[in-house]
């Protein structure tokens, strides 16, 4: 009884500290974690697996940094899957302006990963080149940083991105001199390029208007991408044969949401235009969307950090979702212990009071 009395009067900061310790220990131990993906996540994975190359996938980044830990790993895993399947990935931020920066980070990081996988041999040979070695030594660049810069310069050449070329003009000169730049042309079809394989529209205010407008014509509704480049300059939106005109060319719209935005996607994209919608949501609001999963109005649901971990498992690319799972287990046990202790104390106190 005294123990419970003592526990109920304990300074809340000790509880905070205990929570911090419980979450930290599994991170340090790095216990191997395996998860069995839930059917809600597998449904979306299977759907994307069965899509024909060249179909579009639209990710809507409807969250702010508040929900970064849950939704950013999902965004990355979904982007990787779509890009690796040669689906045309598009991203837009509709509800929160601050999602603009998160969206480009998620997509661009996965584009870079896939491009470095495709260009592995070229990057290896570039790294071994004497002139590049001298450049790296002068700039005190480690292998990882050097490979990243080489990748940017080579991709910028294909994308004709003058800003990036200007920023890395010195390395560009070195790569041209070493005749590495000219080799990138042979990889042109395999790498993922902006405007051909992916596009990010950035933040666009007025999400109902945007969702409705994209049903008619994506390029004229949105006008520009996140860099301010007209969408009609991109192959994705001006090609007569493989154009991303509207939702008819998009296999699925996936709303990564931390608010009520999914309602508009369902009402307009699914009900009005009759196109598939899926979602990745924060765990806090996930329970509210199971009725729509049962009615098949959404074709997949990624639920919180666990949803991200499930998707990472399915694509075989562990990320922040899986990294957090062991800490999640430990913290849940702690919370359950707190609830049990609290209730034992409550009932003992009640009993004592009755006496």
């Amino acid at each position: 009884m005294n123990f419970f009395k003592w526990l109920s009067n304990i300074d809340r900061r000790w509880i905070y500290l205990l929570m911090a310790v419980v979450i930290s220990i599994p991170i340090f131990i790095r216990a191997p974690v395996k998860v069995k993906p839930s059917p809600d996540v597998t449904m979306l994975y299977d759907y994307l697996e069965n899509q024909e190359e060249g179909m579009g996938v639209l990710l809507s980044f409807d969250y702010s940094p508040d929900s970064l830990a849950e939704l950013q790993p999902m965004a990355k895993a979904l982007s990787y899957h779509a890009l690796s399947k040669n689906l045309r990935l598009m991203g837009i931020a509709l509800s929160w302006p601050s999602a603009a920066g998160l969206g480009i980070e998620a997509i661009k990081s996965q584009v870079d990963i896939i491009n470095s996988e495709v260009l592995k041999d070229l990057l290896d040979s570039a790294e071994q080149n004497e002139e590049v070695k001298t450049y790296a030594a002068e700039k005190k660049l480690a292998s990882e940083g050097l490979r990243k810069e080489i990748l940017y310069v080579l991709i910028a050449k294909l994308e004709k991105d003058k800003e990036i070329e200007e920023r890395y003009s010195e390395l560009k000169g070195v790569l041209e001199k070493a005749r590495i730049s000219s080799e990138i042309v042979t990889y042109e079809k395999e790498v993922r390029l902006i405007g051909r394989d992916w596009c990010y529209f950035g933040y666009k205010p007025g999400y109902t208007q945007m969702i409705l407008g994209m049903g008619t014509d994506i390029a004229t509704t949105l006008s520009t991408d996140y860099k301010g480049t007209s969408l009609l300059k991109y192959e994705m939106f001006n090609s007569p044969t493989e154009k991303m005109k509207n939702y008819d060319n998009i296999a699925v719209c996936i709303d990564l949401a931390a608010g009520g935005s999914l309602g508009s996607w369902l009402a307009f994209v699914n009900t009005k235009f009759g196109r598939p919608v899926a979602t990745g949501v924060t765990a806090v609001m996930a329970a509210d969307y199971y009725p729509y999963l049962q009615s098949k109005q959404i074709i997949g649901l990624l639920n919180g950090m666990r949803g991200a971990a499930d998707y990472e498992t399915l694509i075989g690319k562990p990320g922040r979702g899986l990294s957090g799972m062991s800490s999640q287990s430990a913290a849940h046990i702690l919370i359950i212990i707190f609830i049990i202790l609290g209730n034992i104390g409550y009932f003992l106190g009640k009993k004592g009071g009755e006496k």
Partner: protein
């Protein structure tokens, strides 16, 4: 790691710790972080709107492509600036009225179809799926019972007595399971956010783990 990356990550860690310091007690570091966040967020919003909406939807079409018809929405949009003077403040109501009228009117039928009609239809259709085994039938019955009893619970025009009372009681138990699920997931979501920050501190900043 470049110098700017190092500075960036260190700053991110300092601000993370400044916000965590609130757990001990309110202090100037936390207050500074809180106010800086508000300022930066609004500034970020303006930067986004300027480049992705103002330039590409207003400046370019009107001045470069000469779509002068766009002066009509611009005219109504400018009513938002009515708030600068007390005599013109009522003008804000015009664009708000347009948004509300058009938005409400257009949305009603789709909201009804999405969240009521299809949801109701799929509750009934749950028995018509092919290849259902005994367990699927039990689940289908539970789903229908759950929906019906929870609706009855929220139906306050009838007194919750007799049969209605019993059904409402079943509804309460279903609701409690539903709220329990939401509660469990809420705990999970909140903890995930904290894990995210710890992973940042240990992985990206201190490089203690890979």
């Amino acid at each position: 790691m470049s110098v700017m990356n190092f500075i960036g990550t260190t700053l991110a860690a300092i601000f993370t710790l400044a916000v965590f310091s609130f757990l001990y007690k309110d202090n100037p570091f936390y207050k500074f972080a809180e106010h800086l966040l508000v300022g930066l967020s609004v500034g970020y919003y303006v930067g986004q709107i300027w480049h992705t909406a103002f330039i590409s939807w207003i400046i370019n079409p009107v001045f470069n492509e000469r779509q002068y018809i766009l002066f009509i929405p611009i005219f109504f949009g400018l009513f938002y600036l009515g708030f600068i003077h007390s005599k013109t403040v009522w003008l804000i109501r015009i664009p708000i009225a347009l948004s509300l009228g058009i938005g409400s009117g257009y949305g009603i039928s789709y909201s009804f179809q999405t969240s009521i009609f299809i949801q109701l239809r799929e509750t009934i259709n749950v028995f018509t799926q092919s290849g259902m085994d005994a367990w699927d039938v039990i689940k289908a019955i539970l789903l229908v019972v759950g929906v019906f009893s929870a609706i009855v619970y929220f139906f306050f025009s009838w007194k919750h007595e007799g049969v209605v009372g019993w059904i409402a009681k079943v509804g309460i138990y279903f609701l409690m399971i539903g709220f329990g699920a939401s509660f469990g997931l809420t705990v999970m979501g909140r903890i995930s956010l904290l894990i995210g920050r710890f992973l940042f501190l240990f992985q990206d900043w201190l490089h203690i783990i890979k």
